[in-house]
């Protein structure tokens, strides 16, 4: 337990000195706030560039607060995920490649502790950045559209957050599979894309797919009803993450730690 703490502390200090604790939340805030805000000001923007040609009728669809937070989530699910992959692709693979791992793994720490500390350190950065960016989105949407009730928002935050836990775990998994950070990034992104393509192809059968988490969570905001599908995909996500983590530890234990 103490070794785990020491290792997590090292991870946190490393990402702190890297300035990751500054730029990752900032970029995510930008992503989360960008679309709702620019959408709100769209009429003014159009006006200022000369307005619409005469006769053209432009029906602005009514955008609700739920639609707006959906835009934020869309950005986080695409570019946000990309950033999480970027900051995590070398967390283990890079350490092995450079040789730093050789100095650490020769000390009497269990490989489970090592992987768990990497996972914890990454998750801390990912989840804190995610929550901060979503809070900003919530606040601005509240100012410009309407405030989403705090309880509903926290509910959304929790369920949608599971998706990022899966993304982080997937990256840790590929970190134990591949020795090159580039391949780790490729594997993680490819898996996420394949998962979402399959999910949209077989939508009905794969209603519990982790890729559906954001849709189901938004659906809850709209209807105010907790549907089985939301719980279902949440459980699937948690189970897949747990299995991936155990699998990572297994792979890491059977691997050689010097190249």
């Amino acid at each position: 337990m103490r070794q785990w703490q020491t290792l997590v502390k090292k991870e946190l200090i490393a990402s702190f000195r890297d300035k990751k604790w500054i730029w990752v939340p900032l970029v995510l805030i930008l992503l989360a706030v960008m679309d709702p805000v620019s959408n709100y000001y769209l009429p003014q923007i159009l006006e200022s560039v000369g307005g619409l040609p005469d006769g053209a009728v432009f029906e602005m669809p009514e955008v609700t607060a739920t639609d707006a937070i959906g835009m934020s989530m869309g950005q986080l699910s695409s570019l946000g995920v990309l950033i999480f992959v970027l900051i995590s692709m070398g967390t283990i693979a890079g350490e092995r490649k450079s040789g730093v791992a050789e100095l650490i793994l020769v000390k009497p720490i269990s490989y489970t502790t090592y992987i768990m500390s990497k996972w914890t350190g990454l998750l801390a950065l990912v989840l804190v950045s995610y929550v901060i960016s979503m809070l900003f989105a919530w606040y601005y949407i509240g100012l410009l559209y309407a405030f989403i009730p705090a309880g509903d928002f926290i509910f959304l935050l929790f369920f949608y957050g599971l998706w990022f836990i899966l993304v982080a775990t997937l990256s840790i998994f590929y970190n134990t599979v591949f020795n090159s950070p580039g391949l780790v990034a490729f594997g993680t992104i490819a898996t996420i894309i394949v998962l979402s393509v399959i999910t949209s192809l077989f939508g009905q059968k794969l209603n519990y797919s982790p890729s559906n988490l954001s849709n189901h969570a938004l659906n809850y905001l709209q209807t105010g009803k907790i549907q089985g599908a939301l719980i279902g995909s949440a459980v699937t996500t948690i189970i897949i993450s747990a299995l991936l983590l155990v699998w990572s530890i297994y792979i890491f234990q059977t691997k050689e730690h010097a190249s």
Partner: protein, 302 residues
């Protein structure tokens, strides 16, 4: 008493076998040199002992443990090219190393100070490792390897990359550490081995060619040469010398007679006896022992 026993150790990579079934054991409290030319398999063996590589076959047994048990808590290891998390300061890294080796925080802090002093980086303790020179990194590497007071210290070419002063410092440090732990260090520089080691493991193309104490090996490969210098006309003594018992051959080189002898004591006795009886004008007597270098070449060429 041996602290570690290795039997039939074999490491095969896809396209080559780096270690071909070696057997050896390390005596407790000794300093052992693992000597071999580039590519002999030194790093591979040390990494297997340190648990970083898995052997293809064979056993590594630590005294009192099962074969191939996890023995990392008893081992300190310095890689050939250590890479540190360079954003840390030396103190942070030593503390970190101590704590992941299960030392209590206060003790890790105390050991960090203490070891920094011993290896000579006390003034740089709070500097970022990225600002360290190669020699300082090597010293830090040794300090982190012994922070948890291991019983067996594995050092992969600890002095190869150092300048003469650094090399001297590290060898002196090893001399001191030798009293507290068993040391196995690899090198391709025979002088280093000769200076601090009690025992030798001579490795060549993944096989142990020779193993044993420094003295025993010297004896085995010894063909010492007696060098005799005369005041004048050394030629006239050549024939006489050749006829002496215990001397097979002798030749004249630059006015010095060189006599290779298997049994030094016997040859010396004969020479002195005759020289006294016949009152030879000897002005120099020198015993030239074969260096480890010769021994090394000889063993490798076999």
């Amino acid at each position: 008493m041996s602290i570690l026993t290795v039997t039939g150790l074999l490491k095969a990579y896809k396209d080559m076998t780096a270690v071909r079934g070696v057997d050896f054991s390390l005596s407790e409290g000794k300093c052992i040199a693992l000597i071999g030319p580039n590519g002999a398999g030194k790093t591979t063996i040390l990494r297997i002992l340190a648990g970083l590589l898995k052997q293809t076959d064979g056993d590594v047994t630590f005294s009192g443990k099962e074969a191939n048990a996890d023995i990392r808590e008893f081992i300190g290891y310095l890689p050939q090219y250590p890479v540190f998390p360079s954003w840390m300061t030396a103190r942070e890294f030593l503390l970190f190393s101590g704590e992941i080796a299960s030392l209590p925080k206060e003790e890790a802090a105390r050991r960090a100070e203490d070891l920094a002093e011993q290896v000579g980086i006390k003034d740089a303790l709070d500097k970022r490792i990225s600002d360290f020179s190669g020699g300082m990194k090597q010293r830090l590497g040794i300090a982190q390897a012994i922070i948890h007071s291991p019983e067996l210290l594995l050092l992969d070419e600890p002095v190869s990359s150092l300048d003469p002063i650094g090399r001297r410092d590290v060898l002196t440090l090893l001399e001191r550490l030798k009293k507290e732990m068993t040391i196995l260090f690899s090198t391709h520089i025979l002088n280093d081995a000769e200076e601090v080691c009690d025992e030798l493991l001579l490795l060549h193309q993944g096989e142990i060619m020779e193993a044993g104490s420094m003295e025993a090996l010297r004896q085995k490969y010894q063909t010492s040469v007696i060098e005799l210098e005369f005041q004048e006309n050394p030629e006239q003594y050549l024939e006489k010398l050749k006829s002496l018992p215990g001397i097979m051959d002798c030749k004249l080189e630059r006015q010095i007679i060189k006599i290779p002898a298997a049994d030094i004591a016997e040859a010396r006795k004969c020479i002195f006896q005759t020289a006294t009886e016949e009152n030879w004008p000897i002005i120099g007597f020198n015993l030239n022992r074969a260096s480890l270098e010769d021994l090394f070449m000889k063993a490798v060429k076999q």
